[in-house]
Symmetry: C2
Subunit: 130 residues, 2 copies
DNA sequence: TTTCTAATGTTATATTATTACATAATGTTA
DNA sequence: TAACATTATGTAATAATATAACATTAGAAA
C-alpha cells in the first residue's frame, strides 16, 4: 500500500489528532478520540504511532508514555530529541537548540564512542508554575 | 518506621537484586526473583523501586521500563542521569562524564530557563555488536 | 493478470503500573 | 508512657500500556 513519503489513512488520522493537541497524548486517549473515524483497536493506534515516530513526525515522551507532534520544521530530528517537562502542569516543550544538538551528537564516551541517537528529557517548573 | 538514611527490608531485598544484576531488570522480573524472600505482590516491588529511585540508589531506564543500580559512587546523581543503550544486545551503561553533566546542568533554553533534573539516553551499538 | 509486499482488521493476551483499603510499625508530642 | 501522627506493609482488585497471532485486503511490481 504505502511505498513511502505519504501516510496511510490511519497514520494521517492519528497524526492529525496529535498535531492538533497542545499537550502530549497517550495511546488510549488517541484511540478514544479516533474511534469515530473508524479506528477500533489499540494495535491500529500503536502501529500508526510506531510509523510516525520512525519517520520523525511525532516523538514519544518516554517518561510519560505519551506522544507529541514534532515541532522542528526540518524534521531530521527523529534521532536527536530534547524536551522540557514541567513537573507541576506537565507542559512539554520540544527544545531546539543548535548548540545542544551539536554537543550531544558529537559527544563521545570514555571509550571514544559516539552515538547515532539520543533522547533527552529535562524536568523543572515552567514559567507559569514558578 | 523509616526516618531516613537506611532502607527497609523490602527496599534492601530489591536493591540487592538490582545491584547484583549486570543488566537492567524489569519490575516483574524483580518480583519473580524476590518471591522466595517474601515479597508477594507487584506493589511491594514498585514501592521499593519508587523509593530507591528517589534516593538515587537505582535509576529507571525510561525507554526500557527497567531499573539499574546507580554506578556513580557519589550518588547525588539521581537528578542528572545519562545512559548508553545498545540497540542490539540491550546493554546499558551509565555515563559519568563531568563535562556532560556540567553542560546539561547549566543548559539554558531559549527563555533562559535552567532545569533541576534531566535524563539522557543515548542509543547506538556497543563495542561487541559493531 | 499474477504475484509480492506492506498495511489493515480483529481477537486475545501480555506487560506494566496504580487504586483502594486494612493493618502494623515507628516516630513525635504532651 | 499514652495518644496521636506518620510511614511502611500486605493484599486484592483493577487500570493502563503494549504486543502476539492470524486472517484479510490494498496497492505495487513484474
Amino acid at each position: 500500500m504505502q511505498k513511502q513519503n505519504f501516510l496511510t489513512k490511519n497514520q494521517q488520522i492519528v497524526l492529525d489528532l496529535v498535531e492538533k493537541s497542545s499537550e502530549p497524548l497517550k495511546a488510549y486517549t488517541i484511540l478514544f478520540n479516533v474511534q469515530k473515524k473508524g479506528i477500533k483497536a489499540p494495535l491500529q493506534v500503536y502501529r500508526a504511532l510506531d510509523k510516525l515516530v520512525e519517520i520523525g513526525k511525532i516523538h514519544k515522551i518516554e517518561s510519560r508514555n505519551a506522544f507529541i507532534a514534532c515541532h522542528n520544521s526540518s524534521c531530521q530530528v527523529a534521532k536527536a530529541t530534547a524536551f522540557s517537562i514541567c513537573e507541576i502542569c506537565e507542559k512539554v516543550t520540544e527544545i531546539s537548540s543548535a548548540g545542544l544538538s551539536k554537543y550531544l551528537s558529537n559527544f563521545k564516551d570514555k571509550d571514544g564512542m559516539k552515538y547515532s541517537k539520543y533522547n533527552l528529557e529535562f524536568f523543572g517548573l515552567c514559567k507559569k508554575c514558578r
